[in-house]
Assembly symmetry: C2
Homo-oligomer: 424 residues x 2
């Protein structure tokens, strides 16, 4: 594939092969500029899709008549159009940005209007998230959590191997990477006959996850077939499902996690499309027992996406690598998640978020949360001189993910957040 | 209080003292009419608030400059304005509709534009529901469910008396009263070593609930004080949290209910305001142990709202009364629910829905779902000749609620839905 006329350094996540979508606005927008708008990342720049649409450059058969989807403040309208429109947009943008295509390369006025240095824009939530679902699809995570909370005999719940377990999360508190997270207050387990404890959480944790962004969705009452399910996924982001383990442990029986999670969930701003990830697809783990027919797919595939978690402890200058995992640790695939979610007729809508659940691998340094890394605070995690049971105020947690191609990267950028002290 | 010039029959739910809000559109709307719009129920009529706003009749200090909230297709903008605006709107509408006020009464052209017979309108969802939370606040329901699922020793979970337990529900599948519900398919418990069962649910149930509609809401990170919490509740609707008990029982450990609920939730179209319900407020149950300070409220109040569940079995002409309960059976109050929901900083947004949980009373004929009424299908419920363990295809479930004042009612109308066969 040709390179872009926009310079893309070898370590950039945002090659011409990637082209992830987000919503941005220029930081010092003059009053007459439109506000939030869709963009695509290329090297250290953001291509403003509203400017490209206004210039009439989405001239393919589908988008010619529906390019107002790029004049919206969210990506929902574009997501609703479905994969043929997404492929057309990708082809158009890839051509426009390529080194041998003069249309944008040689048009200084249009370049000025449509290419913003990343350092001069602010990223916003890419979609209106109607519903946010969080799955529980890494077997290693399920086994470790089960062992910690319920003991080694019945670590993995009996239903786990038959269905991709999930719960509804809180959509209102989903924030974009870089947003500070205020330590939540809440109740914890009573000690013997005392009332429950109350105060700022003492067990603040991250959860290394990715999340799928839903495309067209389905009508209420009409399940999505597992073999067509990937047409309902636009792409992926990184997600930190911040968790207050003490609040969660006390509240979660019998209706599941609630306030231990709902104080904040961080996603990365750039949605990397499944089309860009296709070169990194790989076989998903063999499933024993065989899933029921509605979950049995003709192509059982995952993506090879290396994931990293870094913690920059309060007062330190450097982040420290604490976990290396991979999206391909997931036992249940994206398509199985969609097929299961809709088998009862539940409707998905464009922009919905489907979290994978914490992505832990089998090795001690591939665990996706502090609960596992410190075994519920029993052990200390060494961070190059300082140590942690759980997160302290001022700690910053940074996720990153990058697929390495032949001389190009398809990366996700960062998903970061810093813990602020609880309100008094 | 004066009567309305619109005739209100003695058994109407919609007196001049009620004035519940909804979103409607005329059934055979001419092409040039605006689409869905806010209305208020009075007798057998709907007062079109967009017409009243366009006529400049919201002339109080707050709404004079913000009456475009009545030109929207949902109530969210009005809800965001908060209680002072709600009180002003109520006073304005009550005056306009009263028998001794000529403005609307004597203006035939405006009456024609603004008063629609209820039989000629279709009701729609009243708000965009960003998030839907379902609580678990009736002690009788908690005890009965716990006994059925976990045995009598540990029927009520240890945390239940310390916090109003809740989980996130699915917002996308909330539908308006009158919408048919398609029986969901899904997995159920395996019998011995077989794979899990799969097929249409055999344990379709209703849950008698009410739901609060959130007003202004709170900023992420800023909890709502329990003594100010009612200012964040606009009003109440009836809610049927349809439940597939076989799907729910197999999936709910450890992350809570998911597909057993997410195929559909029905709400009644008219939001009865807390201002209209104030004459029916009453003391809430004494709480032992004392709640933690953030849940301890200076006025611990409930509302005396008699509730009924009727089932019209498939093929029968008449509905049969199966349950009489009351909103005042709730152990945790609305204000405690809001204070708990936000104590961790979670933000509520205008239009959010907070279900109470199934409202069961102590008597055998005051139980709020078939799970309890038939003790998980062990017993038969007699419906005047036919009998049921759980709901069958074609069964219609109808909730109603009405507070009786002195010569007036403050009622909720109906919340109904019929079960259709599962898709093949
Ligand atoms: Ca999670
Ligand atoms: Ca419920
Ligand atoms: Mg979270
Ligand atoms: Mg439901
Ligand atoms: Ni209609």
């Amino acid at each position: 594939m040709a390179n872009s006329f926009v310079q893309v350094s070898p370590d950039s996540h945002f090659s011409l092969q990637n082209l992830p979508y987000g919503i941005f606005h220029p930081r010092d927008a003059a009053a007459d500029q439109p506000s939030p708008r869709p963009g695509v990342a290329i090297g250290d720049y953001v291509l403003d899709l509203s400017a490209i649409a206004s210039a009439g450059l989405f001239d393919g058969p589908i988008l010619k008549s529906s390019s107002e989807c790029f004049l919206q403040t969210t990506l929902n309208a574009f997501l609703q159009l479905g994969r043929p429109a997404w492929k057309e947009a990708r082809a158009t943008i890839q051509k426009l940005l390529s080194a041998d295509e003069p249309t944008l390369r040689d048009n200084a006025s249009l370049r000025k209007k449509s290419l913003f240095p990343m350092s001069e824009v602010e990223m916003l939530l890419p979609t209106v998230i109607g519903d946010y679902t969080d799955f529980f699809s890494s077997m290693h995570h399920a086994k470790n959590c089960g062992t910690i909370f319920r003991g080694p005999e019945n670590a993995i719940p009996v239903n786990w191997f038959h269905l991709p377990i999930a719960y509804h999360g809180r959509a209102s508190s989903i924030v974009i990477s870089g947003t500070d997270i205020i330590r939540p207050r809440g109740q914890g387990y009573p000690i013997s006959d005392s009332p429950p404890s109350f105060g700022p959480s003492k067990k603040m944790d991250f959860e290394l996850e990715m999340a799928a962004i839903v495309g067209p969705g389905n009508e209420l009452g009409k399940p999505v077939n597992v073999n067509e399910a990937l047409d309902h996924i636009f792409g992926l982001v990184l997600m930190n499902d911040w968790s207050a383990r003490d609040i969660q442990a006390w509240e979660y029986v019998p209706l599941g996690p609630f306030l231990g999670k709902s104080f904040g969930t961080t996603i990365s701003p750039w949605i990397v499309t499944l089309d860009a990830l296709e070169p990194f697809s790989c076989d998903a783990p063999n499933q024993v027992p065989n899933p029921l027919p509605y979950l049995a797919e003709s192509k059982h595939k995952n993506y090879d996406i290396p994931l990293q978690v870094w913690i920059k402890p309060a007062g330190q200058n450097d982040p420290f690598l604490v976990t290396k995992s991979n999206f391909n640790n997931l036992y249940w695939t994206l398509s199985q998640q969609v097929a299961h979610h809709t088998i009862n007729g539940c409707n998905l809508r464009p922009g919905d978020l489907l979290g994978t659940g914490t992505i832990s691998g089998p090795e001690p340094d591939s665990l996706g949360c502090l609960l596992e890394l410190t075994w519920n605070g029993k052990n200390l995690l060494d961070l190059n001189g300082v140590s942690r049971h759980f997160l302290e105020d001022g700690d910053e947690v940074i996720f990153s993910a990058c697929c390495k191609g032949n001389n190009y990267n398809v990366g996700f950028g960062k998903c970061s957040g810093k813990i602020l002290p609880a309100h008094p």
